[in-house]
Homo-oligomer: 389 residues x 2
């Protein structure tokens, strides 16, 4: 077990009806003026917006509104939000939405407490030392941003999707009501399942010794999510399955599933190149294609690990390690197909000749490689993209 | 899944050599004067005391010392510590030790920020609203106090052991170096294993619907601890096994293993009566006797639950639920015996005629019952104590 620091201070209010407590919760911290961010307006159609505003109003919270956060949130929006947050002197940034809205709020919170440009955080020109407190009302179980230290942003000027990790990105509180995800469609639900699984598997497949307790927790989480996914493909309003997904999304990315292990997220680096270049690709869908492709390439460098994964998570009974490893990967790929996720890159209708560009993006123009069981340089990454076109 | 609040804000610094960072960590928070509490002097023999003091000194931290915390810490000691903490205006209470020292620090921290007597917290005469920040350097993997909200204290005036739960009891930071537990003897190591398992099993066996993700996490933790225990009975200096125990001790009692479930800790209520009345009984040893006795009594009220426990944790393959349930309980009891824990109450050399007194203590003189799969009133509890004498 590697040395580690574990810090997940977010107070999670989980369960039915909890979003109606948002005003009371914020008031409990003593804040009276906040910025509210949300997405493309679905919360207005669903009535959630009204419920949130009623709760805030009842607690006497003044609200500065910034709706319109896009999926793969944009740096331009954040810059505008930072400007308003400073002008209006808001005390807390509240996200009502999924990972994109929360990530937008994380950048806003860090930017509002700093004099630098927010693009300086992911490009390492500045370090976020302070941030306004962030709260969220979660409406999508997927990204795990509600408890994570990471925040990803897209800069269309360079077609780049980049993230940074900082404890200043940790939400002060997260309100998680699984009922709010009943209306998430099949495709987005499936994307969420893949994202949650990927956050867990990325940590599971890093270069370090087995860490029995962390391994078993990761395997548990995967099994529970896989089963919940099966239920949700049939019954989108199953509370227990929605609750499992929502709580798993938080736990899969709050570092619990990686304690004592490396924290590299290799496949995410490939996927960020993909959905950075092609803005319409959903992160989870990209991962559904890339994770099996990556696994088929690297498993031979750690066969016992992939065999354990196959046996404990996918209940593969094959006694030969290499055969079991392959069966585990293919069972995973079949599960993603069962979720009706795309299987190959061409399913996204992207051009055949973009592989060079994607591999360049992953390696900063061949300047670096991505760490995994084998060092993935430009050639390896291009080969992985090619293999799943 | 029941609604729940999850809040585990303690920053955990885990791994080899980490205790030498204590001064730096405290300085990082801006504190310059602290109270240091520790136990009966073993940290002086081991050299840990010197290492801690060197680290604190190097960071310019002024230290008010309160050594001598007893196992099952006493209210009289805490009252003295509160007095000194107030007089000396310390800013943080640092525990170097196991659950007893940490619990003593929790009461001290709450008492130092209040005008009431510290016995008022467990007796519900006062509510802890504030507390000084608490840090710890953990030397024993058992109680999980380093991340829990609970704190237990003994009042010899009434021969009572009582606890209270509050977020003010959460440590600000916990330094967890598994190497510091290499010298813990076989008996105390075994007590720790039972305590960690009990914290997890108590939450697993509460009156509510199955909660798949939480169930699986709990089962994972139990399996990892059971395996680590087997290693440690042979090799007390196995780092991985010590690390598994230490991290499991924190996770088993920081509420993770109970999310979405009731939080009653029924067997703990019986054990607190036992070790409250007989001060020399180690908490884990008491639990090793009482847990199987309790389970043999209540399993018939939730056979499917005990069957799941038997199959997933103890790998029982019996297909009949009731038979599997019983086999699981007996395998658990055998495992505790393998750990060389006492099997019956008479192994503690306590008198045969104390059952009435113990049952009275659990039920506040027959005034209330303890909640479990069946309501445990005075008669039931007395019968459970009798059954394992």
């Amino acid at each position: 077990m590697n040395n580690f620091v574990y810090y997940a201070p977010t107070k999670v209010h989980f369960g039915k009806g909890k979003h109606r407590e948002v005003g009371e919760i914020i008031k409990g911290y003593g804040y009276t003026k906040i910025m509210l961010q949300y997405g493309q307006g679905s919360i207005k159609k669903s009535g959630l917006y009204d419920e949130i505003m009623d709760s805030l109003k009842a607690s006497g919270i003044e609200v500065v509104e910034m709706g319109g956060v896009e999926p793969n949130p944009k740096i331009t929006f954040v810059r505008e939000a930072v400007k308003r947050a400073k002008e209006e002197k808001v005390q807390l940034i509240l996200a009502v939405g999924g990972g994109s809205v929360i990530d937008s709020c994380k950048y806003t919170a860090a930017g509002a407490a700093s004099d630098c440009d927010v693009w300086d955080f992911p490009t390492r020109k500045s370090v976020a030392v302070n941030a306004l407190p962030i709260g969220c009302v979660l409406t999508l179980a997927a990204a795990g941003s509600e408890m994570s230290s990471s925040a990803v942003i897209t800069n269309l000027e360079f077609n780049m999707k980049r993230g940074f990790n900082s404890d200043t990105n940790r939400c002060l509180f997260a309100i998680c009501n699984p009922e709010l995800t009943y209306t998430v469609d099949k495709y987005q639900t499936a994307c969420g399942i893949v994202d949650i699984m990927a956050h867990t598997m990325e940590r599971y497949f890093t270069v370090c010794e087995p860490t029995d307790l962390t391994d078993r927790i990761a395997e548990s989480l995967l099994k529970a999510v896989i089963d919940a996914g099966k239920v949700l493909m049939e019954d989108s309003c199953n509370y227990e399955a929605r609750a499992t997904m929502m709580w798993a999304s938080s736990l899969s990315h709050n570092d619990l599933t990686g304690c004592g292990r490396e924290n590299v997220l290799a496949v995410h680096q490939l996927e960020h190149a993909l959905s950075g270049e092609f803005d319409k690709i959903a992160h989870g869908a990209g991962l559904a294609v890339l994770f099996p492709a990556w696994a088929r390439y690297v498993y031979r460098y750690n066969i016992p690990r992939f065999a354990q994964f196959a046996r404990r998570v996918w209940e593969v009974t094959e006694s030969d390690d290499e055969k079991a490893a392959v069966m585990g990967i293919e069972t995973m790929a079949q599960y993603f197909a069962f979720l009706e996720m795309p299987v190959r890159l061409k399913d996204f209708n992207i051009p055949r000749d973009c592989m060079d560009k994607l591999a360049q993006l992953c390696t900063f123009g061949r300047q670096r490689s991505v760490k995994s069981y084998v060092d993935m340089d430009y050639d390896v990454i291009k080969a992985i993209f090619e293999s799943c076109y």
